[in-house]
């Protein structure tokens, strides 16, 4: 019988993301209806989005049930009290043009993700990332583009609901030299002009560094260029579009440059755990950390008919990767205040509890930045830094 990790919220998060959750309780079933995963708050404010519909979840040792007016997740022998994260109220409402807010934005803990256009040119050219097609449900052929007004209205609804944190703007993937920042520019500027909130941007690495300067200058507080796979050969195999049009080398140089331009801890890159050997992921973590980039390690969720992941993939195998992640980031003194409270992925800060089982919720500074005043301070500091650092220059003809 496989071990469970009920006693350690950080390890439990990883194991839950890896193995999923069986839902027998009809109330929770109703709650999870129509979604691929449910957001649940574990002890130590550890937020997790747990797969519950995929085939592999049927073998999970974890179940959720009601107990004493609350909920518990049970393993083989013990259980732990958890709470269901309520769905944001704005999910039920629509924009003035009739688009459901839930289609434009989705909340994942401390991040509200908005993708103004889900178009993916890699998908359209049949060079899509293998893990993505049919998994993350990116409808590459879909030409829907939400207007700036719709997106602004959505952000207003998010903030009106009291949801605080970072607005995460991402592009579908296109082969433009700017990596997609030109497409996001009007959205980014409109959000920055109208709201006092932090905005993270996920695009492809642009071909020239000046676009990274522009990304910062336009108001992006954080930037993500997701490498996804560190191993060179696997990267070319699994992400043929990215490998051909951008190349792993450019990912690295763009991340390195962005880490020099953006403040500490605000440049991040995903390395998907489960698509390459753990040793390779660890090398990727070290490489990114040495450049000043925060590695974020999501766990690969195999979709129907997709067998990309390494086998066997268990918590015992990948926990050392996460331990290494925390230690590497701590050693490099990269700020952990930016990449946090994400339900879909595992962040370095959450891994503190694996390394130090007596650790609580983090440092005083981390606690401060989670508070309302701390969030305002983070926004103010970020804006001040940008004001001091950005200079407009006439480009040479």
């Amino acid at each position: 019988m496989a071990k469970d990790y009920i006693d350690n919220p950080a390890a439990l998060k990883i194991d839950l993301m890896l193995r999923g959750l069986r839902i027998d309780d009809p109330l929770v079933k109703a709650w999870a209806c129509g979604v691929d995963g449910i957001d649940i708050m574990l002890p130590h404010n550890t937020l997790v989005n747990i797969p519950c519909r995929e085939e592999f979840t049927k073998g999970s040792p974890y179940t959720i049930r009601k107990k004493d007016g609350g909920y518990v997740i049970g393993g083989h022998s013990s259980e732990v009290a958890v709470s269901l994260v309520p769905k944001p109220k704005f999910y039920e409402r629509k924009t003035s043009t009739g688009i459901p807010f839930a289609k434009i934005a989705s909340v994942h803990g401390g991040v509200t993700s908005i993708t103004p256009s889900p178009r993916c040119d890699f998908f359209n050219a049949n060079v899509e990332c293998k893990y993505c097609a049919g998994n993350l449900d990116v409808k590459g052929m879909d030409k829907t583009v939400y207007s700036v007004d719709d997106v602004v209205e959505t952000v207003a609804a998010v903030l009106a609901d009291g949801i605080r944190g970072i607005i995460y703007l991402s592009t579908g993937f296109s082969d433009e030299p700017d990596g997609g920042i030109v497409f996001l520019k009007p959205y980014l500027q409109a959000i920055k002009n109208k709201f006092h909130c932090l905005v993270a941007v996920e695009t492809l690495p642009p071909k020239e560094n000046r676009w990274i300067d522009e990304t910062y200058a336009l108001g992006a507080d954080s930037v993500l260029y997701n490498l996804e796979i560190y191993d060179k050969e696997l990267f070319e195999l699994i992400c043929p579009g990215r490998a051909a049009s951008i190349g792993r080398k450019r990912y690295m140089s763009a991340l390195e440059y962005a880490a020099r331009i953006f403040p500490s801890g605000t440049v991040a890159s995903h390395l998907i755990v489960g698509l390459e050997p753990p040793g390779s992921t660890i090398m990727g973590v070290d490489c990114l950390v040495n450049m000043g980039v925060v590695p974020i390690l999501p766990i690969y969720r195999p979709g129907h008919g997709k067998a990309l992941r390494i086998d066997p993939l268990t918590a015992e195998i990948i926990l050392p990767v996460y331990k290494h992640l925390y230690k590497a980031v701590k050693k490099s003194n990269i700020s952990l205040n930016w990449v946090k409270d994400l339900s879909m992925v595992t962040t370095p800060a959450e891994m503190r509890a694996i390394v130090d089982k007596t650790a609580s919720n983090g440092s005083l500074i981390e606690g401060f930045y989670k508070s309302k005043i701390g969030r305002k301070a983070a926004w103010g500091l970020s804006s001040l830094m940008r004001k001091l650092r950005v200079k407009k220059s006439e480009e040479d003809e």
């Binding site: 000046r210 300067d213 522009e214 910062y216 200058a217 020099r260 331009i261 830094m385 001091l388 650092r389 950005v390 200079k391 407009k392 220059s393 006439e394 480009e395």
Partner: protein
């Protein structure tokens, strides 16, 4: 438009940003200290305030922490606010002839540029003299100097400006970056300044000085005597100026042949000279003629503005064609500088400065001569040269009797250095016009200007001590 991201540490950026605030706080502290300290003996309250404003404006003009025109506005506001001059007087001084002369000169230059005449002249000059960067530079330098012997240096600068501007554009030189462009505009400005001291016709200051001398003593200076006395200084300064420019701004342009070929092509591509070019050229020639022969009678500004009116009457130019060529900032700056000079003069501050320094520093004839010439050359950097003469000359003539010196020698000691304004754009319209091109910065001008001023002062004093006795002149009566 691109962006540059300064990745230096936040504390350093904050400190650098605060530097500006600290600068203004320190300046304010100095200003208020000068304003409220107990007034030195012999200095009126108004004089003390005028000196406080003068020092603040001088620092701002030198540091360029705010645009020049805004510093002038600062002076325009403070002078009446602190009661140094009345509101009415202050704004009346702004309507000075020099301000309107510059306005007219800008408009004339605009008309020439708009008609295409300056382009045609520039192309021809380059075609003829542009065999090498050096000969082109020398031709502009010497042309500016020699024209300033026979007409106001201001007018020469205004006339040559569009030509030099077009030459710079023709060579594809980048404003603020190209050393060769800096050389061309320094050649224009300093050529005019050096040439302007060569004769009576270079500016209004020498006739003004002779008028004051004659009024006080009945003595005068002949046109030829003046030219013989000053011409060696002109020659030396032209040589020093050329060497200094070449050393400070080594030319990056080594070959103008490619530009020459392009210019030749462009010259061929020019259409026949148009009626407008003839007419604007005709107005310009008449204006120069009037400046040379009727300048004293009618006034330079009157002539310049009359020509501008003619251009509009004959529909040679439209307002919107001219508007973009008028540098309103320079006009504001010059107006403010004249107000400041006038405030120093009328409040007695300038007189007090001169008296205080003379009592302490000058007790021998050569020292009196050196001190007056130093004061003149220093003051003319920050105020109108006519005002410098108006302030210093009556005092120096008074001093001449006390120390037994020749009033004529002392008139030279002020009138000549008053024309040697090399350092700042507010010193003389020639400098202001050159800086308005944006090809040279105030910093560039100050850097070379200090050396030019010191050299000019030393050479001038050496000439007075060793050359003038040879032509029958001297310090003593």
């Amino acid at each position: 438009m691109g962006f540059e991201i300064d990745t230096r540490p936040l504390w350093l950026l904050l400190l650098l940003r605060a530097r500006r605030l600290m600068f203004f706080m320190a300046l304010a502290a100095v200003f208020f200290y000068l304003l409220f300290m107990s007034a030195p003996a012999g200095l009126s309250v108004e004089g003390q305030r005028a000196i406080a404003i003068f020092i603040v404006c001088l620092v701002l003009w030198m540091s360029n922490m705010v645009p020049l025109a805004i510093t002038s506005l600062f002076a325009i506001v403070l002078v009446p606010l602190l009661g140094v001059l009345s509101k009415k007087d202050t704004y009346a001084i702004f309507g000075n002839e020099a301000v309107f002369f510059i306005l007219g000169a800008f408009m004339l230059a605009g008309a020439i540029m708009h008609s295409g005449l300056s382009n045609r002249i520039a192309l021809n000059i380059m075609d003829r003299f542009g065999k090498s960067p050096r000969t082109l530079l020398l031709s502009i330098f010497l042309l500016a100097a020699s024209l300033s012997f026979v007409m106001s240096e201001h007018a020469v600068a205004a006339m040559l400006f569009p030509i030099v501007f077009d030459i710079s554009k023709g060579l594809g030189l980048k404003p603020g970056k190209s050393n060769y462009a800096k050389l061309l505009f320094f050649a224009l400005a300093w050529g005019c300044v050096i040439g302007g001291i060569g004769t009576f016709l270079g500016g209004a200051r020498v006739p003004l000085a002779i008028g004051i001398l004659k009024e006080s003593t009945g003595l005068s200076i002949d046109f030829l005597d003046y030219a013989i006395a000053v011409f060696p200084l002109v020659i030396v300064m032209l040589i020093v100026g050329y060497l200094l420019m070449s050393r400070f701004f080594p030319s990056e342009v080594t070959d103008v042949s490619s530009a020459h070929a392009v210019l030749g092509k462009r010259l061929k591509g020019l259409s026949k000279i148009s009626y407008n070019e003839y007419a604007v050229g005709g107005v310009l020639v008449l204006t120069i003629f009037a400046w040379v022969f009727f300048g004293k009678l009618l006034g330079l500004a009157t002539i310049a503005l009359s020509s501008v009116v003619c251009l509009f009457v004959f529909q040679l130019v439209r307002w919107k064609d001219i508007e973009e060529y008028v540098n309103w900032g320079i006009i504001l700056m010059y107006g403010g500088a004249i107000i400041l000079g006038s405030a120093l003069d009328k409040s007695g501050a300038a007189q007090w400065l001169v008296d205080s320094i003379l009592v302490n520093w000058a007790d021998r004839p050569w020292m009196v001569f050196a001190t007056f010439s130093l004061l003149s050359i220093a003051l003319t950097e920050a105020m109108s040269n006519a005002a410098v003469i108006a302030i210093l000359l009556p005092v120096s003539i008074g001093m001449a009797d006390r120390v037994g010196m020749s009033p004529v020698a002392l008139t030279y000691s002020i009138a000549v250095p008053a024309g040697l304004a090399f350092m700042f754009p507010m010193s003389t319209p020639a400098n202001a016009i050159a800086v308005s091109s944006n090809y040279i910065t105030i910093k560039d001008m100050t850097k070379g200007g200090i050396i030019m001023c010191l050299t000019a002062w030393v050479v001038f004093n050496l000439l007075a001590a060793y050359y003038w006795p040879l032509i029958g002149m001297g310090y003593m009566k």
